[in-house]
Amino acid sequence: MDESKPKLIGARILWECLEREGVRTVFGYPGGAILPAYDALKHSSIHHILVRHEQGATHMADGYARATGEVGVAIATSGPGATNMVTGIATAMMDSSPIVCITGQVGSKLLGSDAFQETDITGVTLPITKHNYLVTHASEIAPAVREAFYIAKSGRPGPVLIDITKDAQQTACEFDWDAAAPKLRGYRPDLSPAQSEYEKAIELIRAAKRPLILAGHGISISGAEKEVLAFAERTSIPMALTLLGLGSLPASHILNLGMMGMHGEAWVNTTIQEADLLLAFGMRFDDRVTGNLKTYAPNAKKIHVDIDPAEINKNVKVDVALVGDLRNILQELTPRVETTNRNEWLGTIRRMKGDAAVRDIQNLPDNGHLYAAHVINDLWHETRSGNAIIVTDVGQHQMWEAQYYKHEHPRSLVTSGGLGTMGFALPAGVGAKVARPDADVWVVAGDGGFQMTMAELATIVQEKLKVNIAIINNGYLGMVRQWQEFFYDRNYEATPLLSPDFAKLAEAYGIKSIVVSKRSEVVPAVRAAQAHDGPVLIDFQVEQEDTVYPMVAAGAGLHEMIRRPSPIVETATDE
């Protein structure tokens, strides 16, 4: 035994390891089984942010991770503390977000005895974590933390949970950072494609007349923003974005068509259906972007670039798979493809774009009604020149944000895509602001989702965070109401929503509030919020029964879009 190694209790080893992993802030909530760790916090430089619910801690860690690409950390106690994290962990899993969750656990001798606040959280989170650990000895803490950070961040990122028994936190052992380096013999985050696959891809690209890039979340995860643009510009191939791809490529770029899928731009979906080659870059052909698989892109060959081999041929059968890191792959691929002039194909797309109706709402006369699209459009105008991060919740407002906010910068949109977690925005906005204090963080949430996690308003105030909150308040669970309108004979069961007076609620927390019900009030409200030194909540009282168009119904083909009724379509012009 090396006498020179210091002996520390497990709780101190935990914080020491987190510091060495570069953690400056954790989001958490104390409780019995994690108290030894909290007691040891006094020895650490790490800042702990007290949340109001452990779900909030996980979304904050997630928002932190999405805003930076760095690992976010959430901490909670055993039992209910741990189970409250489940939704946040599943959210991070679906969107490949690197977070590490630390939970206290009852003493190792009590494991399996149904002790007070005992839950088998490693069992519960097994299918929704990339990996998890049950740590019962102090000596296992350092290796578990080092492996957890490595696993969370490498390859296809994801959440890792470390469950640490109370006695493991309390007992002392030697702390040896170097000896705790990850030893993961079976873990392969660094796959790369065979040369033969490159050659097949190059040939398909050379032969294509109507190619299209499908740009997904993998671009920002890989840090391949420049490489994708270089590839697109060299080959003159236009790009369609997934929801989580928004921001990774500038909306103003001439080759950037906009969002695809269920509420994607009509011409984008039409372009997919008419393409003869799809290049999927870091996206996974989710059902929300493909619609009916039987009629999806019927004429297209497909090249799938993804770091996760399990995504290949999962939903859509592809012709060539390049498995590996997108950035590395494009660095290899781009110099080997021919430069091409695609004026004919790009012209065809431009003509389709001329038919578009998606921006029609902007052309409505200002008749006193406030539409969510007005709010998003004006918010975009007022914040576009700055360093804004928009953090959205889930539902109609999320789709309008995706349609009307023109994201120019990577990591400028934080939103729950795969899991569609209502209640995500407010805590994720806290995480984004903590991660990037200089950014102008706007939480955009519906009146439904906001009420799921609004307790975190107190966290914002306690931490003195400058976060602006825009509630798109239409008195309904709007997206569900929209489905009822289209598919359930307008039977608005359980969707009309009573809300508190949000302005008074904000005041109760000491947050400045503004109520907006006319379009002319939107810009002044946004400016007032930006000028105020402290958090501001704006209650945007919008048209109640507005609808997100276009829409591809679940299970319908991408070409079968429900369009806005015609009177408005005729007034459409391009932005």
Partner: protein, 187 residues
């Protein structure tokens, strides 16, 4: 590429750590792949366990099973031995009702199948048989008239033939891997 479902046999090497079996089983359940048979046991290396997993799957599903199993951090190696003409064995213990009169006939059938009688009681026989699934099914069929009092089977274990140990089944090149060999297994 065939869409026909056939029995696929996977040899999976995993780190011998608590909870690894439940990770593997949970994955199959979550991805809606039905396990026909799963066995797990120690290997020549104490830190490594070996599973043989038999699943009804088409070629495409089989590839995705390989890729998904690889995503488990504790998995060291996956080898789809289905098309490698592997040695596959199942072991069964079969207890039948056999009184004095019926016993010679039962013993005769057992010897035809090269099964061993391992326990004789006044009114019962217990037979041990090792072989392929089909062979054991065959013995069970002919013993059925005696009355099957109790049957237990281990599930299949599999191994490649010849000197070659298990090989990594390709995942980097899922769409187009041919014989699936990247490098030999060494831990």
């Amino acid at each position: 590429m065939s869409n026909e479902k056939v029995q696929h046999t996977f040899v999976v090497y995993v780190e011998n750590k608590p909870g690894v079996l439940s990770r593997v089983v949970s994955l199959f359940r979550r991805r809606a792949f039905n396990i026909d048979s799963l066995t797990v046991g120690r290997t020549e290396k104490p830190e490594v366990s070996r599973m043989t997993i038999v699943v009804d799957a088409d070629e495409d599903q089989a590839r995705r099973i390989v890729a998904n199993v690889y995503k488990l951090v504790n998995v060291l190696l996956v080898d789809d031995v289905t098309n490698q003409n592997p040695i596959v064995r199942d072991l069964a213990l079969i207890k039948i009702g056999a009184t004095h009169d019926a016993r010679p006939h039962a013993l005769e059938l057992a010897s035809v199948f090269r099964a061993r009688v391992i326990d004789v009681a006044p009114d019962a026989l217990t037979i041990e048989i090792t072989g392929t699934e089909d062979k054991i099914d065959g013995l069970l069929e002919v013993l059925r008239p005696f009355g099957l009092l109790e049957v237990v089977r281990t599930g299949q274990v599999a191994m490649r033939r010849g000197a070659k140990a298990a090989v990594v089944t390709a995942v980097a090149d899922v769409a187009h891997h041919s014989d699936g060999e990247i490098d030999s297994y060494s831990v």
